[in-house]
């Protein structure tokens, strides 16, 4: 294909040469070129290999609808699947073709084309079934993934995007003729208007074709300049250029992506795209139409392109991709291409029209006759042939004779469709137009207005009245624009979806979806196999499931299906176009919500101390908690955890428990409210005492636990699990508002206001005495499960005597700002007693030794307090509390429910594993009845062996018996089922 430059062009700066690399070779283009136009300028049309058959593919279109020319931008973090027809080149851009190996010219994968008769629709589903399940994962899938596909994923994630919100009255999508007219009528009205266009230059059809000769007796480009200036100077209309609306959500919520570096290399560290989130009163769709192609043998050869795209290259990029293209059409839309070619002194090599001579527009007829263009009416192209490019075509003329025409370029037009993607995204209804052979918007669901060809108005006759009528409700200026056309015709089309090949062959391919390599044969096969509903057919054949969503071909598929089923197209229906209109990158969607901003990181007031002291962190919800502390680099996690836990048992340890949820509950009816929320009864509880409490769901299952401190009947402080804080507060608020609005009670989160230190171990009392000399920590003055308020160096603190380790322990609550000071003080006075920090892992080990549960680890939303052996915590005399009635449901009183037990290996040297099943038989022979599973499992230095907590069926009555635990190596370990307490069963240490 030999292209020529048409230097009389306002958009391409022919004085400014730009060098770029394609597959490692250096070429030149001009400022304003897209990758596609620059490649065509260098006579390159082979730009990629197809998805499945690895067939050579070229540039098919000149815009966003491109199915073929997808390239990898090496110079931009290797961005894959970029449409060459959109992306503008800049100095030094490096581009690579996709899906080929070792090179684009000689691609090994073309072997797929040879085997193509077996790669038909449903091939994968039918073929890769056996001989074993593992074959799919280990052999088939890796092979298919290697052979099929588009570009390679980029390695780095460097794109930065900002999100901007807009709130406007009217959004006009598309800045073509109708979009500009609509915007013009809103100038200086009381409406805030956003005009969005995908291109850098507004104008649409005015820039892309020679259809219009005069507007208001002015040259179209002059009119355009004046109109844009008028809009730009207005106070109420804002223009967003280089911005593509990808999504039309409910309640007129639009999402649009703006490319901020069109024609420039993105600067690292700068925002390269902006995601606009637009809430608008009305949406006016002026996004035009898309030309569709036609199916015949080898309609995918490089050198074939849509006729309006050819014209767009001429008008918009100053480039005729070929000097003498053949034109094949079934409609009047390609007339203007003939006019454009002749205008610049070129002429089509032949004009082939499926319509009869009478149907063809008289002025086109005259033009063709006057310029001696070979004309074939009532004719069809049976096939295109050539090696990696189109070389000749076979034309069947009206007499049925076959003519061979040599050519290097073929322009197709199968008719035009309104671009209904956004309209259907908005859930509007479409109607089939039998005359124009396309789906057109009919009934909108939202306040949506369609104008121009987007509404299916393919003629310009009613331009003014259409705009005026549809914008009537806004009471804006009325338009009176005079248009004169170069090809003064009404849109006319004859039905033609597919031309059957001349010779029947297993290898003859007429494509219906270029991007996904779907042929018309696949469509037939799917229907034969019973997939005759259009949504099924789409998924079975993958037709229109590529990233282009079949923009140039999906209507053709409907036409072919309707013919095959002998149904009308509107009976066949359409598949639904879903957002996004065109792919948008994850980095654009993520915006600034990535890395440390992806999810808020919450840190305790002591965090910087942990950092300095070798803490290895664990994520608990959003919190960063020290998992364990490494005293030197060689210490393993196991060593650290054992060291920390032994130290708590022998000396004393300190844990930063600041992440525990804390909720303050106050009010006249606080006591009654707490009695309703928790299982325990707080009525007889003394002021200044604390109680371990459970919270259930209405289904009777344990949802959360914590310690409740009763300051008075009107004032409580509850702690929750670290992860459950928000849920518990939400639950309290919900019941306070919805079920018991008569109770006067208020609750507030004080999690972040107070830091919490848990100190425990036999030497804790000495440390506390030394750290807080004015407080009496004796058993009499400060018994277990009581709390006291004190002041220390002017800082108000609350000390609670409680323990999660089974040792003597205190929890200190300190206002967060003063916490580091007191932490440091305790650390320094504790040194002589061997005080050491411990992390969450040692805490888990210590609590499991005592059989204390962790909600969410030992429970899973199907465990009642009775299952846990915690019936004593249920306030049986209370009339009501959350989930009370559920505890006596037939299901919750079953005896064979899973219940909490302890597990130790019968042979103490054996290891146990978390998550493994408890079973009755030593041999694993399927089916294996499962009793339950291990929920927590640790090695304990104190015990000298592994131990575990488990929930097993009828567990309480199985205590004292033997069973087996499965292992990850598919064998079993003999275990003893014991009470879930492994250490200090009499709680002597706790109350010492």
């Amino acid at each position: 294909m030999k292209s020529i430059n048409l230097k009389d062009n306002q958009f391409i700066q022919f004085h400014q040469k730009i060098s770029f690399k394609f597959d490692g070779v250096k070429y030149f283009g001009y400022k304003g070129d897209t990758i596609a136009s620059a490649l065509l300028r260098n006579n390159i049309n082979l730009v990629g290999r197809s998805f499945k058959y690895h067939r050579p593919r070229g540039i098919y279109t000149c815009g966003i609808e491109e199915p073929n020319a997808l390239v990898q931008i090496i110079s931009e973090y290797s961005e894959p699947n970029t449409r060459a027809t959109i992306k503008k080149i800049y100095e030094g851009i490096e581009i690579e073709s996709q899906n080929r190996w070792p090179s684009l010219e000689n691609d090994f994968g073309i072997i797929n084309n040879l085997f193509s008769p077996i790669f038909t629709a449903g091939f994968y589903y039918k073929t890769f079934m056996g001989p074993h399940k593992k074959f799919w994962k280990n052999l088939y899938e890796p092979l298919i993934r290697r052979a099929a596909g588009l570009g390679k994923p980029p390695k780095d994630f460097k794109g930065i995007s900002n999100h901007i919100h807009h709130n406007v009255d009217v959004t006009i999508i598309g800045g073509g003729l109708n979009g500009l007219l609509a915007a013009k009528s809103f100038i200086n009205s009381n409406y805030d208007v956003l005009l969005i266009d995908f291109e850098e230059q507004l104008g649409g059809i005015i820039n892309n074709s020679n259809k219009i000769s005069l507007i208001d007796n002015k040259e179209p480009k002059d009119w355009l300049k004046e109109t844009i200036q008028e809009i730009e100077e207005s106070k109420n209309v804002k223009i967003l250029k280089n911005t593509l609306v990808t999504t039309y959500n409910y309640i007129n919520h639009l999402i649009a992506i703006e490319d901020r570096f069109v024609g420039y290399k993105p600067i690292e560290g700068k925002v390269n795209s902006t995601l606009h989130k637009i809430r608008t009163g009305h949406t006016i769709l002026c996004n035009g139409h898309i030309e569709r192609f036609l199916s015949f043998q080898n309609n995918d050869l490089p050198g074939i392109m849509l006729s309006s795209s050819f014209e767009k290259y001429m008008c918009r990029y100053g480039l005729a991709p070929s000097k003498e293209p053949v034109i094949f059409s079934n409609n009047s839309n390609s007339n203007s291409l003939v006019y454009s070619l002749i205008k610049v002194g070129l002429k089509p090599k032949a004009y082939i029209d499926s319509r009869s001579g009478e149907e063809i527009e008289p002025n086109l007829f005259d033009l063709i006759r006057k310029n001696d263009v070979p004309l074939y009416t009532n004719s069809q192209i049976k096939g295109a042939f050539g090696n990696k490019k189109i070389e000749k075509i076979l034309v069947e003329d009206s007499s049925g004779a076959l003519n061979e025409i040599k050519c290097d370029c073929l322009c197709l037009s199968g008719g035009i469709n309104p671009d209904v993607h956004l309209f259907t995204q908005s859930k509007g209804l479409l109607d089939w137009d039998e005359k124009d052979l396309t789906y057109k918007p009919s009934k909108p669901f939202q306040p949506t207005i369609t104008l121009g060809s987007a509404s299916g108005q393919f003629n310009f006759d009613n331009l003014n009245s259409d705009v005026n009528e549809k914008l009537k409700t806004f009471k804006v200026k009325k338009l009176d624009v005079k248009l004169e056309l170069n090809t003064n015709t009404k849109y006319n089309i004859e039905k033609l979806w597919e031309v059957s090949p001349q010779k029947k062959s297993l290898w003859a391919k007429s494509f219906i979806d270029l991007q996904n390599d779907v042929t018309t044969k696949d469509i037939r096969q799917a229907i034969t196999e019973g997939f005759d509903r259009i949504e099924h057919l789409k998924r079975y054949t993958t037709n229109s499931m590529g990233t282009d969503q079949g923009k140039i071909s999906s209507i053709n598929a409907l036409g072919i299906v309707s013919d095959l089923l002998d149904k009308k197209v509107n009976e066949v229906g359409t598949t639904i176009y879903r957002p996004p209109y065109a792919p948008l990158s994850f980095s654009a969607i993520a915006g600034r919500n990535c890395y440390e901003f992806y999810d808020p990181e919450r840190k305790s007031p002591i965090h910087s101390w942990h950092l300095k002291n070798g803490a290895i962190f664990e994520d608990v919800g959003q919190w960063k908690r020290p998992w364990y502390f490494q005293i030197n680099k060689d210490e393993t996690m196991h060593e650290a955890v054992q060291r920390e836990s032994i130290n708590v048992r022998e000396n004393a340890g300190i844990l930063d428990g600041s992440t525990l949820g804390k909720i303050e509950i106050k009010g006249e009816d606080a006591l009654e409210f707490m009695n309703l929320i928790y299982t325990n009864s707080f009525t007889k509880m003394k002021q200044g005492s604390a109680r371990y409490a459970l919270m259930l769901g209405e289904d009777g299952m344990v949802k959360d636990d914590g310690i409740i401190c009763k300051i008075s009947d009107q004032h409580f402080i509850a702690t929750t699990t670290t992860g459950g804080a928000a849920t518990v507060l939400g639950c309290m608020e919900e019941y306070a508002q919805t079920e018991w609005p008569n109770l006067k009670v208020f609750m507030n989160s004080i999690t972040e206001q107070y830091a919490t230190f848990n100190i425990s171990g036999p030497k804790t009392r000495e440390i506390m005495k030394k750290a807080f000399p004015n407080i009496n920590f004796s058993n009499e003055e400060f018994p277990f499960m009581t709390f006291q308020f004190h002041e220390f160096n002017g800082i108000p603190i609350r000390i609670l005597r409680a323990s999660f380790t089974g040792e003597l322990g205190y929890e200190i609550y300190i206002p967060s700002n003063s916490a580091p000071k007191i932490w440091d003080n305790i650390q320094s006075v504790g040194k002589e007693f061997g005080l050491a920090s411990y992390g969450t892992e040692a805490m888990h080990l210590l609590r499991a030794e005592k059989g204390y549960i962790i909600v969410g680890q030992d429970t899973d939303g199907s465990i009642t307090p009775i299952d846990l052996g915690l019936s004593w915590m249920i306030g049986k005399s209370k009339k009501d509390f959350l989930g009370k009635r559920s505890l006596t449901r037939s299901d919750t009183i079953r005896e064979d429910r899973k219940q909490l037990v302890g597990i130790i290996p019968s042979n103490k040297a054996d290891k146990l594993e978390e998550g493994q099943h408890i079973i009755l038989d030593k041999e694993i022979k399927s089916p294996v009845p499962m009793l339950g599973h291990i929920t927590s499992c640790y090695y304990s230095s104190t015990l000298g062996h592994d131990f575990a907590l488990a929930v097993i069926k009828n567990g309480h009555s199985m205590i004292g018996t033997k069973a087996y635990a499965s292992t990850s190596s598919m064998s079993t370990t003999g275990v003893d089922i014991v009470k879930p307490v492994f250490y200090d069963e009499d709680n002597k240490r706790l109350v010492s």
């Binding site: 919520h253 909108p444 289904d699 919805t738 449901r889």
Partner: protein, 116 residues
């Protein structure tokens, strides 16, 4: 994304709210005898109609107040929002758009009307 009119704060984006399922489900009085079936229905059974539906929402990232609304589940349209202590509106006051035999509204359900 929906716009929800919080009765306390006014219209806000859906992302500020959480859905709380069916509204006007009465919690049985715990001080009285409650049958297994009655309790089970309260805990586990909720209506799931296509069309008009009383629903609870909470303004989680706002005033944290619970309120009720009437939503058309087939079109997602929220027809009215009202405070918990307000009387529930009569559904006959609203036009349900569910028309076609399968219960799909003609417009807005995402399904095109196909002659059956």
């Amino acid at each position: 994304m929906l716009i929800i009119n919080c009765p306390y704060c006014g219209p806000r984006d859906q992302s500020e709210f959480s859905n709380g399922g069916e509204a006007h489900v009465k919690r049985p009085d715990g001080s009285k005898e409650i049958g297994d079936r009655e309790w089970g229905e309260y805990v586990f059974i909720r209506a799931n109609p296509k069309g008009l539906f009383y629903e609870r929402w909470v303004h989680t990232h706002g005033c944290r107040k619970w309120f009720n609304c009437v939503r058309d589940t087939s079109t997602d349209e929220i027809l009215v929002t009202y405070k918990l202590d307000e009387k529930k509106p009569n559904l006959n006051n609203f036009k349900s758009v569910v028309k076609t035999p399968s219960g799909e509204p003609e417009v807005g359900s995402g399904n095109f009307t196909v002659e059956k």
